[in-house]
Amino acid sequence: MRGYFAAIFAVVTKDVILELRTKDILVSVMVFALLVIVIFNFALDPTPRTVALVAPGILWVAFLFGGVLGLNRSFAIEQDRGNLYGLMLAPVGRDVIFFGKLLGNFLFMVVIEAFIYPVFAVLFNLPIWIPGLLPIALLATLGIATVGTTFSAMAINTRSREVMLPVLFFPVVVPVIVAAVEASGVMIRGDESAELTRWIPFLAVFDAIFLVVCPAAFSLVIEE
């Protein structure tokens, strides 16, 4: 069991070192997500009423679209030099590769969200720290990263992988986004209600299901 977690940790560490060295994912995704937020800020008049209505949606659109860029890149670095074979040659289950890549993707997305949210909060005149958003963001990001890791592995072997990933990934991840937007809206409006008790467990159940299904699907996907 120690070897299992050591191998997962090795994949995550490798991805973090590569990212710190190249900054391929962090910089491009952060710039993209910031652009989305700035454009929406100019396009809409951020009055308190409109902010309460549209801000959660804008926030998650920025996170999701940025996340897709990062997820595409995550497996591109493995595929470009045939490094995926290097991972597959290790005497570990394919699920180890999956969880290693998943944790790396989750980590990058959380870091990006941590940088993006304060800018979003300033532009839309919201409190910079809303504690209730944290579990929502973590659960939704885990769901996005779990599904996204599987589909990015699937899309990497297709000719138009940049287009293919969102086409495959968005329909499956819609429930997470709906739940995240609804739950974030409740938190931003500050009217904690029974709605929250519906959306947060929904996110947790979604994550639990896909954390079981996706590793198995991933094993089938990466072998030709």
């Binding site: 070192i17 590569l18 670095i77 490094n83 005497p91």
Partner: protein
Amino acid sequence: MNPSPKVELAIKVSGLRKAFGRTPVLRSVDLEVPWGQVLTLLGPNGSGKTTLIKILATLTRPDAGDVIIGGMPLSKRGQSVRRIIGVVTHDPLLYDDLTGRENLRFSARMFGVQRIDQRIAEVTERMGMTPRLDQRVGTLSHGMKKRFSIARALLHDPVILLMDEPESGLDQEALGLLDAVVTDKSNSQRTVLMTTHSLDRAIALGQRMAILVNGRVAYQESLESGGTEALKEAYMRHTRAVS
């Protein structure tokens, strides 16, 4: 890991088939490699050598047929098989933005290698790459990357080596180092299956030779049984038929 002494063959392939779409690549391949032997696999371009290596390395699933490596069926015990094989492919399987040391350390951790730094020092010394250990792989030539690739395959001291044209891009010095790895007698069980386009190298390094033509093993013999000229003639005969 030592192989089971009860198992006579290191690699046993029977009835192996693989197609990509409607294009058959391997059409019922049968192959046997006893422990401790070097089998060199020749064949024209597109004959299925790389696909065969990928299947043996658990990188690709066969459509039909059985593969037993070290007494373990590949279909059921792929993870255990990967523990006893070292693989050299066309691509170096190294990350350009990591140094040679970082790449090897990553592989060693994935393979659960003990005393990682000592083992890295040993394999890089063996491939003459010690001075380049802390250089980013992306800045190295193809041949240098290939040397690191061979070092990576040796890290966990595998008892079976699967090498797909390992000599491509190597200079004379590196070829000598590669030959030393292939013919290494320090482990009497070390078994090598190596594809090559060089008939002379196949004869020089192998104890057995097989020729793959159109996805079938057209020829498989012990090199001790035939003279060099007879082997060359067999090679020309089988490969000429498809060209």
